[in-house]
């Protein structure tokens, strides 16, 4: 594993470069195909509303996949991610237009652990709401 960030160069509170990810209905259809999750709440507005959702929502696993990019783009080596966990607190609501929704992700080093690993705490927001809770990754640095 060859992460490009050195353990000795980070400290508790070090901020990772924040990123914003866009998601449209087309994104969700593509993710459904790639992941095999064809639950209609992610592409069928009528169905989503019938089960009490405000509109079509993104796959939680899509949001989870985007959020970790703040870590993998920082380290360079996605294989350096040892642990990654999230709680799905609010749905990312995706309207049927060209803009869709955005997911804003920031992260900072919360704890320096043994074996050149650090815990990064992530915050993911969409439409002003926190969409992931307890979003934490343990990553091995150089």
């Amino acid at each position: 594993m060859t992460a490009k960030i050195a353990y000795d160069d980070v400290e508790v509170g070090t901020e990772l470069p924040a990123q914003t990810f866009g998601v449209t209905r087309a994104t969700l259809v593509q993710y459904a195909g790639a992941s095999g999750d064809f639950n209609p709440i992610h592409w069928n507005e009528k169905f989503a509303k019938e089960v009490g959702l405000p509109d079509v929502i993104a796959h939680g696993m899509f949001t989870m996949a985007e959020a970790i990019r703040v870590v993998t783009d920082w380290t360079g080596d996605p294989g350096a991610v040892v642990e990654y966990g999230v709680r799905f607190t609010k749905p990312v609501v995706v309207p049927n237009d060209d803009e869709g929704a955005t997911i804003e992700v920031s992260g900072k080093v919360a704890v320096k652990l043994d074996d050149n690993t650090v815990r990064v705490d992530l915050v993911a927001m969409s439409a002003g709401q926190k969409v992931l809770g307890m979003s934490r990754a343990v990553v091995r640095l150089a």
Binding site: S35, M61, I68, R69, V81, E83, Y84, R87, F88
Partner: protein, 150 residues
Amino acid sequence: MALDQSFVGRSYPPTDPYEVGREKIREFAEAVGDPNPAYTDPEAAKALGHPDVIAPPTFVFAITFKAAGQVIQDPQLGLDYSRVVHGDQKFVHRRPVRAGDRLTVTSTIEAIKSMAGNDILDIRGEVRDEAGEHVVTAWTKLVSRAAEEA
């Protein structure tokens, strides 16, 4: 109706092997819009010390969730899947999943809780390669929301 606590600790038989293909990894990386070359270029992956292209950290969910179907659809457990939402998800990786892996999953019910009429089910999926070596463990928390009163 609350789920039967006696199912806690129950393990299901390992799944048939899932063979991880380079093009499936590429398709997934494209779907999440991630251009990291470690997912698509074997040489870039080798430069990072991996024998072949690796999969994004959450890729394995497609495999473990399919395996968890054994639990979710177990008629004896009787989970109402139409009311299920994904509560939490966690992965602990021994190493990244990579192209060429033949992965089997053993699913175990770790916990069953009932809170305010919701059934909460924790499923652990242990993923092993063809040599029987541990690759990753996935923990999935599913919440079956209480049915509305008729």
